[in-house]
Symmetry: C2
Subunit: 397 residues, 2 copies
């Protein structure tokens, strides 16, 4: 069995890494609001609502500012937390940021010129309104919106193990999706059944090792979201409750949540024997995906991976059917930077994880896109999603 | 069968309403980024990614600025769209906002002093970075972040019908949740099975009338998210794969997605005969919910509804166990403003929809919270979720 979670010690190391980067910039106190960044650093997952939640990193000490409904939840989830400061509720008779002003100045004792934040203030989520940090405290905050994501871009060996595990369960759920797909079935029903079966396998086989993070309702998912038949022409179709018919081109999706890390797997499939044109476009898509995977590796420009896929499409005479770039980084979010895109100036480095998903879309016929998750290694890449890619394996009789 | 969707004509009326409000402020061109606001006005649901999508309302005409992968999707979903402007991809060799600058100035022909936007620029989502609208165009944009939400606060009669339908399927899914809960079962497994069964009922019984919006993966959900036994003490616990034991206090959740409208239903349940203290706290919670529902009605201050619940908790001697306010508005988002909160200055008006969910939490025992969805009518309120609330109905033998 692979890795399914990270320890508090691991989170503490991440905090140390961030703290060191902050010291380099002469920052003593750093404030964070982003729920994924907070989970990444502390292991606390929470439901973001109208109530501000702030992670305070001050001279290496981790504290939180939370509404009363989260006080004990934080203490329970973050064993190394130093202080849990709190306010009762939002909006309440006194605005939460009034309380925060006192805490930051009197308890934390933040110093002018040594404070930074990842945003100007708490995000305006679900009806929250409030003053900026500067308005609240009178201090100037250095804005460091990217400092945590800059760390997250390079996945640690342990995170790569989580992604391997996530890929394994995406493969499994997708197997059920393919198995349950048949002429006359409704895409929603097949999605539900495949995700249910895949999730039940995951919960049963991982047992106590599986700890849902709360970021996704189902441990594993395998789905259709509307890319069925003529509608598969829309790269980002959304499910309309379509019914499978003979001759349909299908584009699927699958993932699973392993301690917040989510892989990406997509397959182009056919309802019955594909036509000549369906085969041609499938082959072109496969050639582009092969070309992109061949081009990828440490030290390579992201733009060159996209160029490789496009060259393959040009060679097949279908470049006019391209509607998007070749891939994106991923980890705790569905898409992350950098992008495998002509306009990217980034370079692939060991520990980066990407989707590889060049696609083509022909009106009146459908869409053709596989997506696989790969990690950049010291001397190449490793594809983590292992689901069969070849056409013959993807025909549903 | 109730209402399950809205027509393009309905969306056009909403746009007209917004346009009239914009004219009152002498605004000719208004730009929107928020995916829920865009769905509310046009019926277009899309997957927000790193690629900016902008809804342009100009002198009553509806246009979009989208990446190439969404061009035909928009034309297909929004029959009354005027122009679909596009760029190829993000980041690409030319930044999307460069294209937007030309389109806004040369094609839309926006006029200085008559332009507004709901945000300073495209949101920094999934790795997107870009200049503000002002940096892009040189124009000063009036910021109107609340103008669409101000319309959404009062639900139309048709939306109230959607919420009734959503409540009905939340009730149904919850019935399965209660049925499947038993000693030794895992919360994740029960959640999956109840949501599957509830969703399958919904898809089967509504047939072609059901059109998923893409905002939620499952049509109906009924779930545990960790509020089980001692853990039910955490109001916003997140699922940990807990197993049901005799004596547990449980707090559940259920909803369904009917054209983007999502009800809220929660119940406190017991694994076996509750103890004296469990009964006392359940009764106190029921008294507070009754008091809040009795207090609510058109013309009433939101704060007075919260006060009524708190008075009931005081009368029962459990005010120290309160951790949050009594409720929040809802509709297309899980929480919306206004809030049933001591600090609110808002007044309940016909067409507003709220959750009513006063809760108490005792360490070492658990949490006690029902949540019901109600609409404010001309002469009172109507509770839309109908699931049994009384203790005897909520004991699992």
């Amino acid at each position: 069995m692979g890795r399914t979670l990270l320890t508090p010690e691991h989170h503490k190391k991440r905090i140390e890494k961030l703290q060191n980067r902050l010291y380099e910039q002469d920052i003593e106190t750093f404030l964070m609001f982003n729920s994924k960044n907070i989970f990444y650093l502390t292991g606390l997952s929470f439901i973001p609502t109208e109530r501000p939640i702030i992670l305070i990193l001050h001279k290496g000490e981790v504290s939180f500012f939370v509404p009363s409904l989260e006080i004990d939840h934080v203490r329970h989830q973050v064993p190394f937390v130093s202080e849990v400061f709190s306010y009762f509720e939002y909006p309440d008779e006194t605005h939460p940021m009034k309380h925060f002003q006192r805490i930051l100045m009197m308890e934390i004792k933040a110093s002018a010129g040594k404070v930074a934040s990842e945003a100007p203030g708490a995000p305006g989520y679900w009806g929250y309104k409030g003053p900026s940090l500067e308005e609240t405290t009178g201090l100037k905050f250095k804005l460091l919106p990217d400092i945590v994501m800059d760390i997250r871009v390079i996945k640690e060996p342990e995170e790569i193990e989580l992604m391997k595990e996530s890929s394994k369960w995406a493969d499994r759920a997708h197997k059920y999706l393919q198995e349950f797909t048949e002429i006359g079935a409704n895409e929603i029903d097949v999605t539900i059944r495949a995700s249910t079966q895949g999730s039940q396998d995951m919960v049963t086989e991982l047992g106590d090792d599986y700890r849902p993070t709360g970021f996704s309702m189902f441990p594993a998912i395998a789905l259709y979201r509307g890319q069925i038949g003529l509608n598969s022409y829309f790269p980002h179709a959304l499910s309309r409750g379509l019914v499978f018919k003979k001759g349909d081109t299908l584009v699927t999706g699958a993932s699973s949540d392993v301690y917040g890390i989510q892989s990406e797997l997509e397959r182009t499939m056919f309802m019955g024997e594909p036509s000549k044109r369906q085969r041609e476009l499938f082959d072109a898509m496969m050639a582009a995906q092969d070309a992109a995977l061949d081009a990828a590796g440490p030290g390579v420009y992201c733009s060159d991976v996209d160029k490789a896929a496009r060259q393959a499409f040009k060679d097949k005479g279908v470049i006019q059917l391209v509607r998007h770039h070749t891939g994106h980084a991923l980890g705790m979010e569905g898409h992350e930077r950098p992008f495998l895109d002509l306009g990217s100036e980034d370079i692939l480095a060991p520990g980066m994880i990407f989707s590889c998903e060049p696609g083509i879309y022909e009106k009146g016929l459908g869409g053709f896109r596989h997506s696989d998750t790969f990690v950049v290694t010291e001397d190449g890449i490793e594809v983590l999603t292992k689901y069969p890619r070849d056409l013959e394996s993807l025909i549903i009789e």
